[in-house]
């Protein structure tokens, strides 16, 4: 336990910046330490690839490898919990794979809706296609621009109880003249999901994504889950690192 704590302190100590600005003086060790891709994060999590400061014969290899995948500020803030999770990981030896179903990407996007800039969040997950093939698919969409709200609401905006007897003639008027208030005509208890709104806006040419502003990955296992983000800093503790986690209480 003391050795693990010492390792933890060591990881925290790796915070001094370096200031190389040419190929000659650039600290290549720092480049090797940085978790440059989420694929590399998985390799290091699975211990298929070791950071340059770890030796395969190290008796605390797993603990150190996991610790180095945490953001040092997170370790600083939640030392005890980090230690608990690291010990659990070392005992369970879980693996991460691109082919897993228990992970997803969360992309905060800059977009343009009807010519105006906006922001929305897309959740993407991997989906098996065939054989060894996978692809990313959009599984959820969130954002204020996807939360449709009627321009006005009042009891008069309704389809009258007699309309069925006249072939619902008012539907024409509702969709032609009251299109901005269409949500008044929706059955209560049937919420609109952001994903459907997103696809409808894109397909109608009203919404276009400009670029992804922030990216995070969420991984979940039966007894814990964690989030991985890209820490861009001139530091050994940089790249794709665990930025947050939760441990299920009943475990």
């Amino acid at each position: 336990m003391r050795r693990l704590l010492l390792t933890l302190v060591s990881v925290l100590a790796l915070s001094a910046p370096t200031h190389g600005q040419s190929l000659d003086d650039y600290n290549m060790l720092q480049y090797k330490m940085e978790v440059k891709q989420i694929a590399e994060f998985m390799e290091r999590f699975n211990l298929s690839e070791l950071p340059p400061n770890l030796h395969p014969d190290d008796t605390l290899l797993r603990e150190k490898a996991y610790l180095m995948l945490f953001d040092r500020e997170l370790i600083d803030r939640r030392q005890e919990e980090v230690r608990f999770l690291v010990q659990r990981l070392a005992a369970e030896k879980p693996r991460l794979s691109f082919t897993d179903t228990a992970w997803c990407a969360e992309a905060v996007c800059r977009a343009v809706l009807d010519g105006k800039p906006t922001r929305l969040t897309l959740v993407l997950r991997t989906e098996h296609v065939a054989g060894h093939r996978f692809k990313w698919v959009i599984s959820d969409a969130r954002g204020e621009c996807l939360a449709l709200t009627p321009k006005k609401s009042n009891p008069g905006l309704r389809i009258n109880p007699t309309d069925n007897e006249v072939n619902f003639l008012s539907l024409h008027d509702v969709t032609k003249n009251e299109w901005q208030n269409i949500l008044n005509y929706k059955a209560s208890g049937t919420p609109l999901d952001g994903l459907s709104v997103f696809f409808a806006l894109v397909q109608s040419g009203r919404l276009k994504i400009e670029y992804v502003e922030e990216l995070a990955y969420h991984f979940w296992k039966p007894s814990y889950q964690f989030t991985v983000r890209d820490f861009r800093r001139d530091d050994f503790n940089a790249g794709w690192l665990i930025s947050d986690f939760t441990i299920k209480k009943d475990t």
Partner: protein, 220 residues
């Protein structure tokens, strides 16, 4: 501070430790021999691109119109060679299903020397190379160098029959000089998509390799 020094020492003394575990859950059906070959060739492509880029961007002093023409001709040839490295040669292209795919995009970042704010633009690779050739910033000398490429063992993905993709990471150093002083310099971490297409010619397997979109990960 002492702990950090010990850690540094450990780090330096144990560089290049080989991997210790095998990976299951493959996302492709290629063997180790293919993988090694493709990784090597992908790295060569990226290095070739960076070499061309350095030449294209570097201003060359000329003494006559004739020399100017020769330099322009050489640079145009280099730009063409550069574009040949990219899928669709930098233009939109049709995939095997008849869909039109967008031209390759090159994310470009720069750091404001005063505010340290990083701005990012996303020109198509053709526009990017043109900008580099024209020495947009009017530097007297430009130096572009790159680090070794990194590729994760699990990076390769099969996407279609005979078509594979992976991502390579590298760091690019850019320095622009005016007179004797450094007018601008930055270090940018980049990720580049690489396409591999398997073809058979006269019964022999050949791999066609192209570069795809390039993203900026970090600029300092």
């Amino acid at each position: 501070m002492k702990i950090r020094n010990i850690f540094l020492l450990l780090a330096i003394s144990s560089c290049f430790i080989p991997a210790v575990a095998q990976r299951p859950d493959q996302t492709h059906n290629l063997n180790e021999e293919d993988l090694t070959e493709l990784t090597k060739r992908a790295t060569e492509k990226v290095n070739e691109f960076n070499r061309h880029l350095s030449y294209i961007a570097t201003p060359i002093k000329v003494n006559s119109l004739e020399e100017q023409k020769n330099v322009e001709a050489t640079k145009s040839r280099k730009v063409k060679q550069c574009l040949n490295l990219f899928i669709g040669k930098g233009y939109e292209y049709e995939d095997m299903y008849g869909n039109t795919q967008a031209p390759v995009v090159m994310e470009v970042s720069s750091v404001n020397r005063k505010t340290k704010a990083v701005s990012i633009s996303r020109p198509q690779v053709r526009q990017y190379l043109d900008r580099m050739r024209r020495n947009y910033h009017r530097y007297d000398r430009i130096e572009i160098t790159s680090s070794d490429c990194y590729i994760a063992d699990n990076s390769l993905k099969e996407v279609d029959d005979g078509l594979y993709m992976c991502v390579l990471s590298y760091t690019q150093f850019y320095r622009g000089e005016r007179g004797d002083r450094i007018a601008y310099q930055d270090r940018t971490d980049k990720n580049v998509v690489v396409y591999f297409e398997r073809t058979e010619i006269d019964g022999k397997v050949r791999w066609l390799i192209w570069l795809g979109n390039i993203s900026v990960k970090q600029t300092e």
